[in-house]
């Protein structure tokens, strides 16, 4: 009975979430902030690995990241909506909807063409955003401080409260995604990755798989953008720039498409490398990031997730 409980995904996830929430009380504030940002980036990465499971990699997730961020920001400044949870949820839905609308256009393409078309979308958005002065042009704008159920936390706890909200919402989304990955449609997506022609000849649509996965990725990316904007308290067109999209691709390649927690670990690694090198080597953080990227691709080509999988498979066998 108890062993069954330990193997239960829901139980494991709630345990991990509680652990992280408690840890958040003990670690310094800057680390809480870094982890929150890592969750934001991880959400976008989670979207890309959902696409990767169906054989696609988007090089333009800055597009949905930006839409999510601006949605949360504009709702905050224009509509006076400041509840962080509501903003995250609405950004998720709205960006998912945008994704659903453009997905049929993108879903016809594969490989480098899919990557480039998604990149083009993000750059068109970038070009538009820096030209709209009403929303700050290339400077962007500041978001109002967040509230939670109508309460505004004191400034020393604001980061921690957002951190808790981010962990809980992301945790449940991750559980749902894991269920999707292991479901029949999730397996069919993996099959599309391997041999699209055969999937069509078995009677399933690779196009539909791509549309669904892109929509999910858009929603996740939008939520990540909103979380990033709320955490920073600021949003600007840089969210949609191609270099930002490159970081998302890096997170998902470093994580691999096998494991959900690996994505957040990869995102955390990226954030840590970024903030450490930003602090100690402010002029060369890109160099360090680049070298870190190259080395991790050389030494862990199939991603951190493959380590996780091997580890758990071995654990199961030893039992």
């Amino acid at each position: 009975m108890s062993e069954k409980l330990y193997n239960n995904l829901l139980f494991q996830s709630i345990f991990l979430m509680s652990f992280l929430i408690l840890v958040g009380l003990l670690i310094p504030n800057w680390l809480v902030f870094v982890i929150t940002k890592a969750i934001a980036y991880g959400l976008v990465g989670l979207g890309i690995i959902t696409l990767m499971r169906g054989g696609l990699v988007s090089f333009g997730q800055g597009f949905v990241f930006g839409i999510g961020g601006y949605t949360a920001g504009l709702l905050g400044t224009q509509a006076g909506l400041t509840d962080a949870m509501l903003l995250l949820f609405v950004s998720f839905l709205f960006t998912g909807l945008v994704g659903l609308i453009i997905a049929p256009l993108l879903a016809r393409y594969r490989d480098i063409f899919f990557a480039m078309l998604s990149l083009a979308f993000s750059m068109v958005l970038y070009g538009i955003l820096i030209k709209i002065d009403a929303i700050g042009g290339s400077d962007g704008f500041v978001l109002p401080e967040s509230t939670y159920f109508g309460i505004k936390p004191s400034s020393e706890y604001a980061d921690y409260v957002l951190y808790v909200v981010a962990i809980i919402m992301t945790g449940f989304i991750s559980i749902l995604l894991r269920y999707y990955y292991d479901s029949t449609p999730g397996l069919i997506a993996l099959a599309v990755r391997e041999n699209e022609l055969r999937v069509e000849y078995l009677g399933s649509s690779a196009f539909n798989v791509a549309v669904l996965n892109f929509t999910i990725a858009a929603g996740l990316g939008g939520m990540g953008g909103a979380l990033n904007g709320i955490a920073l308290g600021h949003i600007d067109p840089e969210f949609t720039y191609w270099t930002t999209s490159g970081e998302f691709v890096f997170i998902s390649i470093l994580a691999g498409y096998l494991s959900v927690p690996a994505v957040f670990l990869a995102a955390l690694l990226l954030e840590l490398v970024r903030s450490f090198s930003g602090r100690y080597f402010p002029d060369t953080w890109q160099l360090i990031l680049g070298l870190f990227l190259i080395l991790s691709i050389i030494f862990i080509p199939s991603g951190i997730g493959s380590f996780f999988k091997q580890f758990f498979d071995r654990l199961k066998k030893s039992k």
């Binding site: 090089f59 480098i112 480039m116 990149l119 060369t284 953080w285 160099l287």
Partner: protein, 299 residues
């Protein structure tokens, strides 16, 4: 009216020439090595920086002014000679045959490294080398005024394109490269040294990027961040023209150059995103670009 059209056409052609030289290297490297090289923009910036360094040295040595072009060529060559073994031999070779998108990510990492390498070597200050631009005087027709150097760029672009086309189609080594593009495995079996072909192709690509940087240096202030826009602009060109196609790069560069020049004069707000717009439009209607045939899929 006529003047305005002529201005747009000439501005567009000058812009297109510069863009073509960058994109030519990018598309050629993709054609041979199947690598869409983000770091291409970084090599471009290195070309500009090395010219900005070498040309003042050249003048201080009291060399004849007219030979400054030679100094610019040498600086581009130097960049290609240094960067090719490091990038192609040192890093990219490990990833041949792997997923295209993964290799794009690797080149993105190299791009990041090159960004900071520029800062480390040349610092944060802007460099100026406008002297070569005065070399060819100016041309005036009617109300239009053009610097000769700018117009000469059009000639340089045409020369680069024709030269590469000629080498590929009319020489023995060019035909070997074409064979490798067509089928690297079989070419390898027939005794072609694939590694050498890849190295040479990468060198040519890097040289073209650096060359574009060298010859642009007199037109701009050479500073941190000049490569970031080049990456996307040259991507847009090769996407429009079709990955790996030289005629495609010509057309792609012309489309973007003209569209951009038209925007500058007629609709300045759209200047930034017109090329992304062209790229997205082309991908939607003709995803493989103008000059790439459909690939047969076999059961």
């Amino acid at each position: 009216m006529v003047d305005e059209i002529l201005t747009i056409v000439l501005d567009g052609a000058i812009y297109a020439s510069w863009l073509f030289i960058v994109a030519l290297g990018l598309t050629f490297v993709f054609g041979v090595l199947k690598i869409l090289n983000i770091a291409h923009g970084g090599i471009y910036a290195l070309g500009a920086y090395s010219t900005a360094t070498l040309v003042p040295i050249f003048y201080s040595l009291g060399m004849p002014e007219q030979l400054v072009i030679l100094a610019m060529l040498v600086s581009a060559l130097a960049v290609a000679i240094v960067i090719t073994p490091i990038m192609e031999r040192g890093i990219l070779r490990r990833f041949y045959g792997q997923d295209e998108v993964l290799i794009v990510l690797v080149t993105y990492a190299i791009y990041l490294v090159l960004e900071d390498v520029q800062k480390l070597i040349w610092g944060m200050n802007s460099l100026y080398v406008s002297e070569p631009r005065e070399l060819l005087g100016a041309l005036e027709f009617g109300s239009l005024y053009y610097v000769g150097y700018d117009l000469a760029l059009i000639g340089l672009a045409i020369f680069c394109g024709l030269f590469l086309w000629f080498v590929l189609n009319k020489t023995q080594s060019g035909k070997i490269v074409l064979a490798v593009i067509h089928n690297p495995e079989i070419s390898g079996c027939m005794g072609v040294n694939i590694n050498k072909v890849y190295l040479a192709a990468f060198f040519i690509g890097a040289f073209l990027a650096a060359l574009a940087g060298s010859f642009t240096a007199p037109l701009i202030s050479v500073q941190v961040g000049i490569s970031v826009a080049v990456v996307i602009e040259s991507f847009a060109v090769v996407i429009i023209g079709g990955l790996g196609s030289i005629p495609g790069a010509v057309i792609g560069a012309l489309i973007i150059g003209m569209a951009r020049a038209a925007c500058v004069h007629k609709l300045p707000e759209a200047e930034i995103f017109i090329m992304y717009f062209c790229m997205a439009g082309m991908l939607i209607f003709k995803p493989k670009g103008l000059f790439q045939g459909a690939q047969a899929r076999k059961i």
